[in-house]
């Protein structure tokens, strides 16, 4: 129900991505860049481990709109995301979202999102959706 959405609504959950998840994403996206798949190559670039794909991290925005809202009536209409710190396989992450704008006129929703590791913000962005009963 629309009235279950209130500005200030906060939703969060823990998640992580394994190397197996990374391999699946590589196949789905056809992005086989070794920075994501080869530990030695990642080390040669100064990273301790392969980097988690940024767009794999942003998949949590899809989960937000599709699975974590009060109902199943929201449709994703836009995503913006900044990647601020590297993320590695099996990192223990928290995805957090806050509803910052709810348009009564259009049933548009805007969420501010962040991904945290040990309290540090790895990614931040916004997700837009429209609620259709």
């Amino acid at each position: 129900m629309w009235n279950q959405y209130a500005e200030g609504l906060h939703i969060e959950w823990p998640f992580s991505f394994s190397m197996e998840n990374m391999k699946s994403f590589a196949k789905l996206s056809s992005d086989f860049n070794p920075i994501h798949t080869d530990a030695d190559f990642a080390k040669s670039k100064g990273y301790e481990f392969p980097l988690v794909y940024g767009l794999l991290l942003s998949s949590q925005m899809s989960r937000l709109i599709g699975q974590e809202l009060p109902d199943k009536n929201a449709i994703l209409t836009g995503v913006q995301m900044d990647f601020m710190l590297p993320c590695f396989p099996d990192d223990k992450l928290i995805f957090g979202a806050d509803l910052i704008n709810k348009s009564e006129a259009t049933h548009a929703l805007e969420f501010k999102c962040r991904i945290f590791r040990d309290g540090a913000v790895l990614c931040r962005g916004t997700v837009n959706a429209v609620w259709r009963p």
Binding site: T77, N101, S103, E104, A105, T106, H107, A108, E110, V130
Partner: protein, 80 residues
């Protein structure tokens, strides 16, 4: 009202991704390519943010052209 329409112009250009777009008081959705339901939502939300206003569904449903939108904005601003 002319000033409001001038302020609306960059919002329209951004929403419809058309730097050459021109609107006037009689412009309607029929006059602008791409003015579909999702573009309409983006437009209304952008206008709400730009003018720091909130519209109701009833207010928006009564708007048929850019001039009426400008009048609605003016009436909302007068109440603030």
């Amino acid at each position: 009202m002319t000033n409001i329409i001038e302020e609306l112009l960059p919002i329209f250009r951004n929403v419809f991704d058309d730097d050459g777009l021109v609107v006037n008081s009689s412009t309607t959705a029929q006059d602008i390519d791409g003015w579909d339901s999702l573009a309409h939502i983006r437009l209304i939300v952008a206008i709400e943010k730009s003018f720091s206003l909130r519209f109701s569904a009833a207010e928006i449903s009564g708007v048929e052209n850019v001039g009426q939108m400008a009048e609605l904005i003016l009436s909302k601003q007068a109440k603030v």
